[in-house]
């Protein structure tokens, strides 16, 4: 069976789910069930696609039966199938978490009813971007997920979210415009926008024209993926959104940009024309990002900076354009989606338990909630790359690729990635020491509720501060359910998935190396779309 036949369902099902959730706007429970069911079914289909792509290589389906260079094609290969499975699993966990939070248990957080439909459209956009084999359809996928993300980012319309939303929307629209202009130029130069067809025809252009088009695409995708000089918008806009929204943005949106970068570098513009340039960009992304993270005192902002920093690792793997490097980058993307999302979910739990994500006010959470401490510790060590975990395995792969390459820039990158890894550990250890380890009264600005909480962890119903100021920011903290199990379970699930990436690292590395090999060969992808012998016809 051709597994690509079910590929369109990965886009259509979430869209239908979104429509249904929109109809059920007055029935929150039915909405939740719709969302969870849709995503579970989609995930199951994608696992089938992954299994088939793993066994048979790249497969394509033509939407509406139009012959490839003219109609829209969807391609399932190892890379896109792996990305789909990981992203769907993560978005399912985040959806369950968000449903658990109810999104409504506080006043201004807002119009919950709109959350589920928008979220499902976001998932559909992400799936579309991963699956498409058509450059303009990639643009449409980007716009679907971006427009949905604008709504999620400004959910509730509070003042900080509007401020963050403005930056985010303007930057995203500009990057989309750059992408659209690049598409127009590519179409003008080659007369096609089918990616497999482009892979052949772009190679026939003059080198200077190729260079222009290549750079334009890199800039457009670089903004979306938050690569160094173009990453300023991310820490500015992500932290203010609700916890589950930030989590899913951190996990998925930048990775769609990275995916587009991988396709650009391997399929559309192969060769090592810009590899040194990309390596310099990668090392700067890592170092500048992580130095930003060390300076932060807010957990969510710190995590946003580590997110930017670790995009550098993926660009590093991509820039090596060797099987080892690219395979490690693919594995690293899967690892990073899972781990970064679980850290943001934990940050959301910390905010609930401690009332804030400001490290100057938190303390003693390890004693209050050992479960929360474990849930933070495992993905934190995973992100920092401490040996048994998947972060370490991914980094080892990247470093090995860099050493194999052996050029001076590659050695600089190897050193840079080590330093970044250490600084990540530093930033996360700071969170651990301050938020979990020290006594709450040792905080710079101790939180009265945390200080007054009894050592056995039971919440204090009222403290003097709450009584004095009945409408202050501490009101209600003792009364809301602190760590609702519907929120904790999805987090546990994601942390466990991060651990599973370690346990099943062997087969996963096989898969990602196979994906890397096929991407560097390019023939499987192109022949899956255009049929056998397409490369020979082009004289290659």
């Amino acid at each position: 069976m051709n597994a690509a036949q079910i590929a369109p369902l990965a886009v259509v099902l979430p869209l239908l789910g979104a429509a249904l959730a929109f109809v059920l706007i007055r029935h929150p429970n039915a909405q939740r069930r719709t969302g969870a069911t849709t995503l579970t079914v989609t995930l199951a289909l994608e696992v089938v696609m992954l299994a088939s792509a793993w066994a048979n290589g790249a497969q394509a389906v033509n939407i509406g039966g139009w012959i490839p260079p003219f109609g829209i094609t969807m391609v399932v290969d190892e890379l896109s199938a792996l990305m789909l499975v990981v992203s769907s699993a993560v978005s399912l966990a985040v959806l369950l978490y968000a449903s658990g939070q109810g999104m409504a248990d506080s006043d201004e957080e807002g119009p919950v009813s709109i959350f589920h439909p928008t979220y499902l459209i976001l998932v559909a956009g992400v799936s579309n971007a991963f699956l498409t084999g058509d450059l303009f359809n990639l643009y449409v996928g980007f716009e679907m997920l971006l427009t949905a993300s604008y709504v999620l980012m400004t959910l509730g319309g509070t003042s900080p979210r509007i401020r963050a939303g403005v930056t985010y929307v303007v930057v995203s629209v500009i990057s989309s415009m750059l992408f659209l202009v690049s598409i127009a130029m590519i179409y003008a130069a080659t007369g096609t926008i089918n990616m497999a067809d482009l892979a052949i025809k772009l190679g026939e252009l003059e080198p200077s024209t190729q260079m222009t088009l290549h750079l334009m695409l890199l800039v457009a995708f670089g903004i979306k993926a938050a690569v160094f000089p173009l990453s300023f918008w991310l820490p500015d806009s992500y932290p203010t959104a609700p916890a589950p929204v930030t989590a899913v943005f951190a996990g998925l949106l930048t990775k769609v940009g990275v995916y587009a970068l991988i396709r650009t570098e391997t399929l559309l513009f192969p060769g090592d024309r810009l590899n040194t340039f990309l390596m310099v960009v990668a090392v700067l992304t890592m170092l500048v990002g992580i130095l930003g993270a060390v300076a932060q005192i807010d957990i969510k902002r710190m995590l946003s900076f580590t997110l930017v920093s670790h995009i550098g690792y993926m660009v590093f793997g991509l820039a090596m354009s060797s099987v080892v490097g690219l395979g490690a980058a693919v594995y690293y993307v899967a690892h990073h989606i899972t781990v970064q999302t679980s850290l943001f979910l934990v940050a959301g739990l910390i905010e609930r338990r401690g009332g804030t994500t400001n490290m100057d006010r938190l303390g003693g959470l390890a004693k209050l909630s050992p479960l929360l401490a474990i849930l933070f510790f495992v993905p934190a060590m995973n992100l920092a790359g401490i040996p048994p975990f998947s972060g370490f395995l991914g980094k080892i792969g990247l470093v090995q690729g860099g050493v194999d390459l052996g050029t001076p820039v590659a050695w600089v990158l190897v050193a840079g990635s080590m330093i970044t890894s250490l600084l990540t550990l530093l930033a996360l250890a700071r969170v651990w020491n301050r938020v979990f380890w020290r006594r709450p009264e040792d905080a710079e600005h101790p939180d009265p509720v945390l200080v007054a909480t009894k050592p056995d962890g039971s919440a204090v119903r009222t403290t003097r501060h709450v009584e004095e100021r009945p409408h202050g920011r501490f009101t209600g903290r003792g009364i809301v359910q602190l760590l609702p199990m519907p929120m904790v379970w999805p987090t546990i699930g994601l942390v466990a998935m991060g651990l599973a990436l370690t346990v099943f690292a062997g087969p996963l590395f096989d898969l990602s190396d196979q994906a890397a090999r096929e991407m560097l060969q390019r023939t499987p992808y192109i022949e899956a779309v255009l049929g056998e012998g397409a490369m020979q016809g082009a004289g290659q």
Partner: protein
């Protein structure tokens, strides 16, 4: 391939004015700038299709090269719809920003300002280590309670 010079000029003006407006600090102008740039991109897409020709409806005795290229027009249609949605959303955001803060300007990130302004001295790392390192606390300091600790930090502020 021939290119329509008027179209090119209009496109250039749209892009130039659009970029100028985006660099302004007023949100309404930024939005206008984005609209102009989108339309510039649409014109660029249109001009990639080559010179205008007959409507692309198949006729038996019409030679292939006299048709217009329909693909760029389909792309423009999609892009117009998308930019329409984004413009509507921008307007909503600007209105909300006006309702909340009576302002129509891009605002600074407060947290960014704070990090930029923080001194190089860090209370935790750079404080002088007290000379007395004994583990045994004198009795008058032993009753340090959370309340006195809080009072101390507030005094330090």
């Amino acid at each position: 391939m021939t290119v329509n010079l008027t179209l090119l000029l209009v496109m250039g003006v749209l892009f130039a004015v659009g970029v100028y407006l985006i660099l302004e600090r007023s949100l309404t102008r930024v939005m206008l700038g984005l609209m102009l740039i989108t339309n510039g991109a649409n014109l660029l897409l249109l001009s990639t299709g080559g010179p205008a020709g007959l409507a692309p409806i198949f006729g038996m005795d019409v030679p292939a090269e006299t048709y217009s290229d329909p693909l760029p027009q389909a792309l423009i249609l999609t892009s117009i719809v998308i930019s329409f949605a984004v413009t509507a959303f921008m307007l909503a955001i600007i209105y909300r920003s006006w309702v909340l803060g009576r302002q129509d300007e891009v605002q600074d990130d407060i947290e960014d300002r704070r990090v930029a302004n923080q001194p190089t001295f860090d209370a935790e790392d750079d404080a002088e280590i007290p000379a007395e390192t004994t583990e045994f606390v004198p009795p008058d300091e032993a009753e340090e309670t959370p309340a006195t600790n809080r009072a101390r930090t507030e005094r330090e502020k």
